[in-house]
Structure formats: structure tokens, C-alpha cells
């Protein structure tokens, strides 16, 4: 089932200066879409346009469901204010806002759902802990749990693993990958890690800052050594062995290993 359809959408903040050529893209249930591109290419702006936070400069963002799909969102560098005296569960429960509307209060079913999502990211034991007492990686996982508490049809993660160590990053992306299968939701994640996109995404969107172009397609067709080298302007080598993607960012050692797919 289609969730969102971008038709010839121009993206940017100034009408006379779109970030790249118009983009057409359909997001369907079950898609696991990786968005890659160098710094400043417009990855977050693309995400914000899809989420309705930034209006498109031209073109249309179609809603095949005749309504906005239910969204779960983790913003880039999402480090909410440490000063707020909120528990991990209270932060997670904010994910119910779209279901509860402005006036309803969370019921026990909402709390149970939030706890289940915390359990899914391995933090149920810290539900009562102050959110600000957690490490950056743990906070990021709480924000993912909050996004899942929204029971999203489309989960949007803008650099979700930027605060995480490799093990936590792999665990989170594995979780997201399993959710795509078990809950039949669509996931779109922005990443700087070529290996993360190579290992987990079924499709990728490549934003080329120099050429101001966008390419969308199956991961294995687009994530090639030649294409990545051109995109980042430095030698990148990608090898696929036994279902794993290995990525070298420069001649020599592989500095990032992709997950199983």
C-alpha cells in the first residue's frame, strides 16, 4: 500500500534556489529507505518536507490514504533539553500525542504500549529513571521507542545512530529492520553510514550535492563503489560477501562493516 507520493517536488527554503532537481518518489508499506548524501546535501530538508514541516517549493506530496500516514519521528541530533524533569516513560508517552489529541490523558493501555516499546529498545528497566540521567545513546533509543509508541505507518529516523556505539547502532537497525517485517510499516532513515544503508535499506535515495541531483532505487543497484566514490568525492569501495556489505572509505582498512541482510 502506498503511503506517500512525491511528484516532481522541489525542495529548499528559497523558491529561486531549490536544493536539487525535482524529485518523484513513492513510499510504500514495507519499504526500508535509506537516505544518503554528503553534509549540506539536503537530507534533513527532504525529510522535513515529507513530514510537512517545510512546504515544498513546487510539486505535490500526495496522500494515497486520503490522510497523512501515522508518523513516528526521531529528529536529527535529537537531544531534548536536559533541564526538563521527565522520566523515560513520560518522554516515551509523548509518542501517543497524535492518538490522544489535545485533551485526552494517557490511559493504562497507552502506558503498557509505551513500556512495550521501551522493552523493544532494551530500556524497560529504566522506565522510571530521569531521562536526563541517561547516556546519549540511551536517550536516542528512548526517542526511537517514543516514535514507535505512535504506532506509526511511516517511521522517519534522521541520523538515528549518531550517538551510538557500533553495537548499539547494529542492534537498533536490526530492530528497525525486524519491525518493517513484523508490523509492515515503512521506515525512512537518514544516515552518513554507507554500511548502514548497504546493510539494512531495501532502497536508497542518493542526494548529490555537487550535481544537485537525486537518485532513487534498489540498494544493490545504487550503492556501488563507483557511485559512492563520485558522491563523496573520495575513494569508496563496497564489497558484498555472504549477505554482508563491507565498506572501505579509503584505500586500506575497512572502517565500517555493514549488517546482515
Amino acid at each position: 500500500m502506498d503511503l506517500l507520493q512525491l511528484k516532481e517536488v522541489s525542495i529548499g527554503y528559497r523558491r529561486d534556489r531549490p536544493l536539487f532537481a525535482p524529485i518523484s518518489l513513492t513510499i510504500r508499506q514495507g519499504d526500508l529507505l535509506g537516505i544518503l548524501g554528503p553534509n549540506g546535501a539536503g537530507k534533513s530538508t527532504l525529510v522535513k518536507t515529507l513530514l510537512g514541516l517545510v512546504p515544498p517549493l513546487a510539486g505535490t506530496v500526495g496522500l494515497p490514504l486520503q490522510r497523512r500516514p501515522r508518523l513516528g519521528y526521531v529528529a536529527q541530533g535529537a537531544r531534548p533539553d536536559f533541564a526538563y524533569p521527565l522520566s523515560v516513560l513520560q518522554v516515551t508517552l509523548m509518542g501517543r500525542a497524535a492518538h490522544l489529541g489535545l485533551l485526552k490523558r494517557p490511559a493504562s493501555a497507552d502506558r503498557a504500549l509505551a513500556l512495550a516499546q521501551l522493552d523493544a529498545v532494551g530500556l524497560a528497566a529504566l522506565a522510571a529513571a530521569p531521562f536526563r540521567s541517561l547516556s546519549g545513546g540511551q536517550q536516542q533509543r528512548v526517542l526511537v521507542a517514543r516514535a514507535l509508541t505512535a504506532e506509526p505507518e511511516l517511521l522517519v529516523l534522521d541520523e538515528p545512530t549518531s550517538e551510538m556505539d557500533p553495537a548499539a547502532e547494529h542492534a537498533l537497525l536490526s530492530l528497525v529492520s525486524s519491525l518493517v517485517a513484523s508490523r509492515n510499516l515503512a521506515v525512512m532513515f537518514v544516515t552518513h553510514q554507507i554500511s548502514a544503508a548497504a546493510g539494512f535499506a531495501s532502497q536508497v535515495v542518493l542526494l548529490d550535492k555537487a550535481q544537485r541531483t537525486v537518485e532513487c532505487g534498489p540498494t544493490e543497484a545504487l550503492l556501488t563503489s563507483a557511485r559512492m566514490s563520485a558522491l563523496y568525492g573520495r575513494p569508496v569501495e563496497i564489497r558484498r560477501e555472504n549477505g554482508r556489505a563491507l565498506v572501505w572509505l579509503s584505500a586500506g582498512e575497512p572502517n565500517v562493516q555493514g549488517g546482515a541482510r
Binding site: A78, A97, L102
Partner: protein, 285 residues
Amino acid sequence: MSFWEARFLWQEPMLAALLGAALLGYLGFFVVLRRIAFMSAALSQLSGLGVAASFLAGSFAGIAPHDETPWWLSPTTFAFLFAYAGAALVTLPSRSKRVSSESMVALGYLGASALVMVVLSSPRIAQEAHEVGDLLFGNAVVVKREDLVQLAIAAAVTLSLHALFFRSFLFASFDPETARVSGVPVRRMDLLLHLTLAMSIAVATRALGALPVFGFVVLPAGAALLFSERLHLVLALSVGLSMLCAALGYYLSWTLSLPTGSVMVALAAGVFALGGLKRGLERLR
């Protein structure tokens, strides 16, 4: 005459101080966390400018500051209008990257403070200026019944709205971008929050004075955040500490013949310092 025997003199000012302290202590939770302490000072000055402007307008209509005025020309109406306009202006999205909302608040504070003096120096109302001082910025020692009633109404309206929308105010303050994606009308929630703040400050300033209002909005909530990391406890402490400082401050000022508003604020600052001391000791462990 003992403090208790003189209660007929201080009952209403004490009630106003407790009510104002509770209301402002609660609102302080958002003021401190959203880092808009200076905005509360600007709103207080703007409401004062509204009062001064109503006197000036009244002088053109031949009405003296202490005379009965029609509602549309009353100091309260003008105080609300000026404070609401200030709150709305701060909430509007800034189109200029060169002028931050902080600069707008500073402009409001400085502009209002200066204009109050200019208006009060006008020959049209200069002869009543000595009376206007208390009308502008209140006096916690003597509170008029009318001010107490207005304070009670403002508290009832503010707390009712916050009871309904607290969750949305909190989400919109904590993580506005995700709140927007989740369907929370962040800008409208911000405006509503700022308008309740403007209303409460405009009324409380006239009843208690500018200094206690600023003190109650900032210090008890700041102290509560140092004492606890639990949402409900922080809210309860913020309100409770604020009321404690108001009551104890009034008592001490009465018995020791000290300026009331200043004693209240000094106590609140002391509580804040205690919170800082507690946090400092925790870090040393």
C-alpha cells in the same frame, strides 16, 4: 497589636500574595524551562505601560487616575492589551535572522520601561504621578479588593486552561519539532501559554508589585528544578516554595518593618541558593 490581632489588616494582602505566588510559581515551571524569564519582566513592564497609557488616555477624556473609568478605558483593560500584544509579538515566528526573539523581548522591556517614565512625565498626568506608582506596579502591603478578585479570576482561567492543555504545553516546550509532527499545534499552544502568562503577570503586577512577580516567576521554579527530577514533585515544590516565601515574607516584613515585596523575593532567592547548594553537594559526592 500582635500580628494575629491585626489580621483584619493583612488578610486580603496575604491572600493575594498566596494566590499570586501559587499562580506564578506554577507558571514559573514553563518560564524557567523555556528560558523566557526576561519575557516575564518585559510583560510586567508592558502591563505597566498599559496602565500609564490608560491614565494618559483618561486625561484626554477628563478622567483622573483615581476616578471611576469606563471598562474600555480602565487600567486593567489597557494592561491586558499591552501585555497580550507583547506576548503575541514574541510568539510570532521571526522572519529576520538578525533579530532574535531574545532581542525582541529586550526591546519590549527597555521600550516599555522608558515609555512609562515618558508617559508619567507628561504634564497631563504629572500631578498624580506619585499615586500612579502604586497603581502601575502594585504594592504587596495593601491590596485592593478589586485586584484580589481579578487575581482570582486570572488564576482560575489560567489553571483551567493549563489543566486541559498541560500535556501539549509540555510536549511543545520539550521537543517542538516532534510535537508538530505528532499533530500538536505548537504555535497555537505557545501563544496560549504566553497569553496566560501575560494575563497572570498583568494582574499580579498590579496586586503585588513588579519585583515579587518577577521573583515568584523565576526563583521558586528554578529552586524546585534543583531539588527534584520528578515532574509532579517539581510542580508541587515550585508552587509550595513560592507560597511559603510569600507567607513568611509577609510575616517577616510586618514584624520587622521591612519592605514586603523585597523580603519575599530575598527569601525566594535564599531557597534558590539552597537548591544550588544541594546540587553542588551531590556533585561533590
